[in-house]
Symmetry: none
Subunit: 139 residues, 2 copies
C-alpha cells in the first residue's frame, strides 16, 4: 500500500491537513504510530523541502499563477535517487530546460515528458538540496 516510513507519512499528513506548527504535526504522527520529537520533525521537514506558506506547511509546490516561468510545479520523491516533478500539460519540457540550464550540482540527469520531469540525484542528502535549488529557480 503506502510507504510507511516517517517522511512519507509527514508529507501525507501535510497534504491532507492544515498543519500550522510542528507540535500539531507531532500529534498527528503519534496518532499514526510515529512517536517522535519536535527536533526530528524539524529535520524531517528540512529533508522534505517543506515550506510554510500563510502559516501552514505545504510540500514543495508552486501553485498556478505563482511563477511566471511555469504554470505549476509539484514535487515528490521516489526513493533516495529520484525527484518527480509534475507540471500542467505541455509544460514539463520548458521547466526541464530551465532546470538543465541552471546546472545544479548534484543532478545526475533530467528527463522531461509532457507533464512530468524525472530528476536523478546521487543520494538523499543531495535530494533535499536539489529540491530546494529547483524551487528557488521558479520562485
Amino acid at each position: 500500500m503506502l510507504d510507511h516510513n516517517r517522511l512519507s507519512i509527514i508529507a501525507e499528513v501535510i497534504r491532507g491537513h492544515k498543519i500550522g506548527n510542528q507540535h500539531d504535526l507531532k500529534e498527528h504522527l503519534k496518532g499514526r504510530g510515529f512517536d517522535t520529537t519536535q527536533s526530528s520533525i524539524s529535520r524531517d521537514l528540512k529533508k522534505l523541502g517543506v515550506v510554510k506558506v500563510d502559516g501552514y506547511y505545504k510540500t514543495p509546490s508552486i501553485a498556478p499563477g505563482e511563477s511566471s516561468k511555469v504554470d505549476r510545479l509539484d514535487a515528490t520523491t521516489a526513493g533516495d535517487n529520484l525527484i518527480v516533478l509534475k507540471t500542467g500539460p505541455g509544460n514539463a519540457n520548458r521547466a526541464g530546460v530551465i532546470i538543465d540550464r541552471a546546472n545544479i550540482i548534484g543532478i545526475l540527469g533530467t528527463i522531461a515528458g509532457d507533464d512530468t520531469i524525472f530528476v536523478a540525484v546521487a543520494n538523499r542528502q543531495t535530494q533535499a538540496k536539489v529540491l530546494r535549488k529547483i524551487f528557488a529557480l521558479f520562485d
Copy 2:
C-alpha cells in the same frame, strides 16, 4: 582540483594507462598513496561500472567518434536502481532504441529524453551487469 578519493584515482589511472589486471592497478594506486587490496579494487571497479575491453579496463564511456551508433555515451549510476546515460543533444532517442531492442535481461524499463536516458534496474548486481551489456552494444 581533483577529487582525491580512491574511486576517482582509479578512473584516472584507467584512462591514462593500459591496465590489464587488478594487480597492476594495485601497484599504480600504491604509487599514488593508496595502498589497498585486490578485493577492494574489485569492488571499486564494480562501483565505477568499469568494463574490460580487449584485455584492458576502461571507464563506462564512449568517446566522440568511438562508436558509429552514437555520438558519445557516458554512464553514471544513481542509487542501486537507476543508470543514467548521457549522450550528445538529440542522440538519446536513437541510443535508447538500440538498448530497448537488445532486450537486455535485468532492465526493467528505459526512458529517453533529448540527451539523457534513464534505465531502471532491479538491484546493484543487475546494475553492474546491465551497464556492461549496454556498453557492449555500442562498442
